[in-house]
C-alpha cells in the first residue's frame, strides 16, 4: 500500500519580536527567571494577523517550496486551538486564499499535539485513497488567549504557523511518514485549560511538566519502533516546543546524543500546534538535516493529548 511523505515545509512568524525585558514591564518577572524556567529569550506576537492569515502564509510558502500547484491539492487540514471564528474554518480560508479548488478542508483541535495528529490523519487519508496531495498546517494566535497580567503563562505563549505539503508515495517507494502513535490522558484534562467564551489559557505547570517528562519518552520510542527506526539513527528530534526543560527531560530519556534537538522555543516561544512545523521548517530551510534522514516528531499538550511519528526529512 502506498504511503505518504512530506515534500516541503513553510512557516510564518509575525514581525513583532517581544523580549523578556518587555514582558518584565508588564508583570513581575525578569529575563533570567524566564530563561531558566522555560528557556525562552524572545517570542513573536501577532498584530492584525488572524490565525487564517498566518496559516495561509505558511501554507503558501510550503506549496511554493513543493513544486506542486494549488490545482494539485485535494486536502487541507489545519491544527489550531486559537482560531476565533467557528465558520468558515481556517482550512477553508486557506484554500480560498491560495486558490485551491474544492479540497476536503477541516480544522482539528488537539491543542499542542495538533500538528502530529493532523499529519497522522492526512497520512491515513492518503493511504485510504481519499486524497493524493495535502497541505497540513499548525497555526496559532495564542496572544489572543493569553492573560497578560498572569506571569505564569504570559511569558510562555506566542503566535506563528508552520505547514507541510504531503503527497502520496509510489507503490515501490518507502513511506516517508511513519505510523502515528497517538492517544490521550483524559484523567489529566484539568492540567491545561482554555475554557469558556473569550478564555485565557491556564495550566498546572508542575503536573504538565511531570507528565511530559515521564510519559512522553516511552511513547516517542514506540513511534521509532513502529517506523522501524532505531533511536540512534534519528537525525533530529522535533518535539512540541513547550518548555526547554521539558524538551531536555524527554531527550535525556530518549538517549539520542547525536540527534539535533530542536529548540526553536528559545526564539519563538510556545506556539502550541504551530511549534513542531515551525521548528521543522526552520531546520529544513537551514539545511541542518539531510533530505531523507529520519526525524522524530512528537506533540503533547492540552487534553491531555499526544501524537508523534518518524518522518523522512523533505
Amino acid at each position: 500500500m502506498a504511503g505518504s511523505r512530506i515534500v516541503a515545509m513553510g512557516h510564518y512568524q509575525p514581525s513583532r519580536v517581544v523580549t523578556n525585558d518587555e514582558i518584565a514591564q508588564m508583570v513581575d518577572t525578569n529575563d533570567e527567571w524566564i530563561r531558566d524556567r522555560v528557556g525562552i529569550v524572545t517570542r513573536r506576537i501577532a498584530g492584525d494577523e488572524t490565525v487564517a492569515d498566518m496559516a495561509t502564509a505558511a501554507a503558501g510558502k510550503a506549496l511554493a517550496n513543493s513544486g506542486l500547484t494549488a490545482a494539485d491539492i485535494d486536502l487541507v487540514v489545519v491544527a489550531t486551538c486559537s482560531s476565533a471564528d467557528r465558520s468558515p474554518n481556517v482550512a477553508c480560508r486557506v484554500a480560498a486564499k491560495l486558490g485551491i479548488n474544492a479540497p476536503a478542508a477541516f480544522d482539528l483541535n488537539t491543542a499542542c499535539s495538533g500538528f502530529a495528529y493532523a499529519l497522522g490523519t492526512v497520512d491515513h487519508a492518503i493511504r485510504a485513497g481519499a486524497a493524493r496531495n495535502a497541505i497540513v498546517v499548525g497555526a496559532e494566535k495564542l496572544s489572543d488567549l493569553t492573560d497578560w497580567t498572569d506571569r505564569s503563562t504570559c511569558i510562555i505563549f506566542a503566535d506563528g504557523a508552520g505547514a507541510a505539503v504531503v503527497t502520496a508515495t509510489a507503490d515501490d517507494e518507502p513511506a516517508g511518514i511513519g505510523p502515528v502513535v497517538w492517544g490521550s490522558a483524559p484523567e489529566k484534562s484539568d492540567a491545561v485549560r482554555i475554557e469558556g467564551w473569550q478564555p485565557y489559557i491556564t495550566q498546572e505547570g508542575q503536573s504538565v511538566f511531570r507528565w511530559a517528562t515521564t510519559a512522553i519518552a516511552p511513547l516517542a520510542l514506540q513511534a521509532c519502533e513502529r517506523a522501524g527506526v532505531h533511536p540512534s539513527e534519528l537525525a533530529a528530534f522535533v518535539p512540541h516546543q513547550a518548555n526547554a526543560r521539558i524538551i531536555d527531560g524527554i531527550a535525556k530519556r530518549l538517549n539520542i546524543p547525536d540527534a539535533i534537538i530542536a529548540k526553536d522555543i528559545v526564539e519563538s516561544g510556545n506556539t502550541s500546534a504551530a511549534s513542531i512545523p515551525l521548528a521543522l521548517s526552520k531546520l529544513v530551510e537551514r539545511r541542518e538535516v539531510p533530505s531523507g534522514a529520519p526525524v522524530l516528531l512528537f506533540g503533547f499538550g492540552g487534553g491531555l493529548t499526544y501524537a508523534g511519528q518518524v518522518v523522512r526529512c523533505p
Binding site: R37, E204, Q206, F209, R210, T213, T214, N243, G249
Partner: protein, 79 residues
C-alpha cells in the same frame, strides 16, 4: 531504611537533578529557600525519588514537601 539512609539517597538525587552539594542536604533544609531547588526541579526530584525508593508521590502531595525532612517522613511512611 533509616531516615539517614533516605536523606543520603535524596542527597544523591538532588546532586544529580539540581546540582546541590550533598553536604548541604539535611532534614531541616528547605528545598526552595535553602537548596535553591525550583518548582520544576522539585518535580524531577520527586520522580527520581519514586524510582529510587519504590514509593508513589502524587502531584497534590508535592507541594506539602517543603523540607528535606518532610520528604524523608513521607518516604519513610510509604515504604
Amino acid at each position: 531504611m533509616t531516615r539517614d539512609e533516605i536523606t543520603a539517597g535524596l542527597a544523591e538525587i538532588l546532586e544529580e537533578v539540581a546540582g546541590v552539594n550533598p553536604d548541604d542536604v539535611a532534614e531541616g533544609k528547605s528545598f526552595t529557600d535553602d537548596l535553591d531547588v525550583d518548582s520544576l526541579s522539585m518535580v524531577e526530584v520527586v520522580v527520581a525519588a519514586e524510582e529510587k525508593f519504590g514509593v508513589k508521590i502524587p502531584d497534590n502531595e508535592v507541594q506539602n514537601l517543603k523540607t528535606v525532612g518532610d520528604a524523608v517522613s513521607y518516604i519513610e511512611a510509604q515504604s
